[in-house]
């Protein structure tokens, strides 16, 4: 019953994300824009971009995943949807997990899908496009679930966007390090699977602990 309740939340969130205007496309635009501006500041030399590209792509992905976090729980807190969820018998842990998962499917996966395109623009080798998409999708899961903790903590704060950044960025460190290491491995033809495993471990850890921390924070925001 719990699980079906969470499933309903997941489906509802997903529908809302894809029907609502701009919710999905804004982070995509930010991601593409940040990556495209980088050569303008670094300079267009291919060697330089090849050396910096994976790191730039990864920090842009992390920041793009923080961008939509502000409204993740805040909108539902303001219009009373969270109260309704809390009263419906579905545990808030499941609500938080379902909302974050839906958010990752609707925004995180598209980010991972355009990552290979940006990768090529940053002079990454075409042969590693698939690896880039895989690493980005796993890494964005870590970013979204850690970011959800920050989103829940600041749900009651108006203009909490910058606060989310300050709260969530330290949690991003492991995925930051291992994800970009995997990208550098993929770019140079070196070892990329072991950093990918560590990125996955960070993502799994985020998925495991984020719902409990987020629900605990949301409970305080509701009452």
């Amino acid at each position: 019953m719990m699980v079906s309740g969470a499933g309903a939340v997941f489906v509802r969130e997903l529908k809302q994300a894809w029907s609502g205007g701009g919710g999905v496309s804004l982070p995509l635009g930010f991601f593409a824009g940040a990556c495209s501006l980088t050569p303008l500041s670094l300079g267009p030399e291919a060697d330089l971009l090849r050396a910096a590209g994976p790191g730039v792509l990864w920090i842009a992905l992390a920041l793009s995943s923080l961008l939509p976090m502000e409204r993740l729980f805040q909108a539902d807190l303001e219009d009373g949807t969270l109260d309704a969820y809390a009263g419906s018998g579905v545990a808030l842990e499941w609500v938080a997990a379902a909302k974050t998962a839906a958010h990752w499917v609707s925004t995180g996966l598209p980010l991972a899908l355009i990552a290979p395109v940006l990768w090529i623009m940053l002079q990454g080798p075409v042969s590693s496009m698939f690896q880039v998409a895989l690493v980005s999708s796993i890494g964005s899961a870590a970013f979204f679930f850690f970011g959800a903790i920050g989103a829940a903590l600041t749900a009651g704060v108006r203009r909490g966007g910058l606060l989310i950044t300050l709260v969530a960025l330290p949690l991003y460190c492991p995925a930051m390090i291992f994800g970009s290491a995997a990208l550098y491995g993929a770019a140079s033809g070196g070892d990329w699977t072991s950093p990918l495993m560590l990125t996955s471990a960070a993502a799994l850890f985020a998925i495991a602990c984020s719902p409990f921390a987020a629900a605990s924070a949301l409970r305080a925001a509701i009452d």
Binding site: I149, T154, L163, P170, L171, P174, A220
Partner: protein, 242 residues
């Protein structure tokens, strides 16, 4: 157990804590002066680093305190979340600025020590990087307290953040170490394992002084926090009475 009951009740706390706050603070200042005197005058210069090693006496204890203060806040946050303990919230909140101050002190003195020894003001070495991230966690914690409009909401959120940070800190530390060995650059620094007892003593004295000062100032700050809450409550009562 008696201590627990004293600290459970803000009124009891207010009636007994003041002498302790003074004793700890004064003892802290005295110990710090003693340790600095030992460190600057009595301790011999290090065989390898010369007099630059004297920086260690203010630097290393501040690193210990930066971690101790966070552990203290995490413990208080756990107590606050599990037992809804009002004073534990006050304790965690009151300790945060001092923890952040010791972390900032650790970073700046580390940077100044690094220049003559490593040849650079900032080295992305594993330990320095994780202390920097700890500093950001402190800033986030303090900012979260300040952003919330009611203390009840703020205390819950801050406690959750503190525990999340405490759980993640070892993982962050591990990943930073891994990252650092991956990008290992040549450093001039080798560990200082053969420091003599006479060389270590000032460090322990300063560390005790920092610890006592931290305890004393945290008690003072808790008292101020409770008084401010009382003032706020009285004003609200007056407004309610019209």
């Amino acid at each position: 157990m008696a201590i627990m009951t004293v600290f459970a009740n803000p009124h009891r706390f207010m009636s007994v804590s003041q002498p302790f706050a003074w004793i700890f603070s004064l003892a802290g200042v005295a110990l710090i002066f003693a340790g600095v005197y030992m460190g600057l005058f009595l301790a011999p210069a290090d065989a390898r680093q010369g007099d630059a090693a004297r920086i260690m006496f203010v630097h290393v204890p501040s690193a210990w305190l930066s971690m101790f203060a966070f552990a203290f806040m995490a413990g208080a946050s756990l107590v606050s979340l599990v037992w809804r303990h009002a004073l534990a919230d006050v304790a965690a909140k009151s300790a945060a600025p001092f923890g952040a101050a010791f972390t900032a002190l650790c970073l700046t003195t580390g940077s100044i020590w690094g220049y003559p020894i490593w040849g650079t003001w900032w080295e992305w070495d594993g330990r320095m990087t994780s202390v920097l991230i700890l500093f950001f966690i402190y800033l986030g914690y303090i900012a979260l307290w300040q952003a919330m409009d009611t203390p009840q909401k703020a205390s819950r959120a801050a406690a959750v953040l503190c525990l999340v940070g405490a759980v993640n800190l070892p993982i962050i530390k591990f990943s930073v170490e891994w990252w650092n060995t991956l990008h290992q650059t040549a450093t001039f620094f080798t560990g200082d394992n053969n420091a003599t007892y006479g060389f270590k003593a000032p460090m322990y004295v300063v560390a005790l002084g920092y610890l006592a000062l931290f305890g004393g100032l945290t008690l003072f700050n808790m008292r101020a926090e409770i008084l401010l809450t009382r003032a706020e409550m009285r004003l609200q009562r007056r407004l309610a009475l019209g």
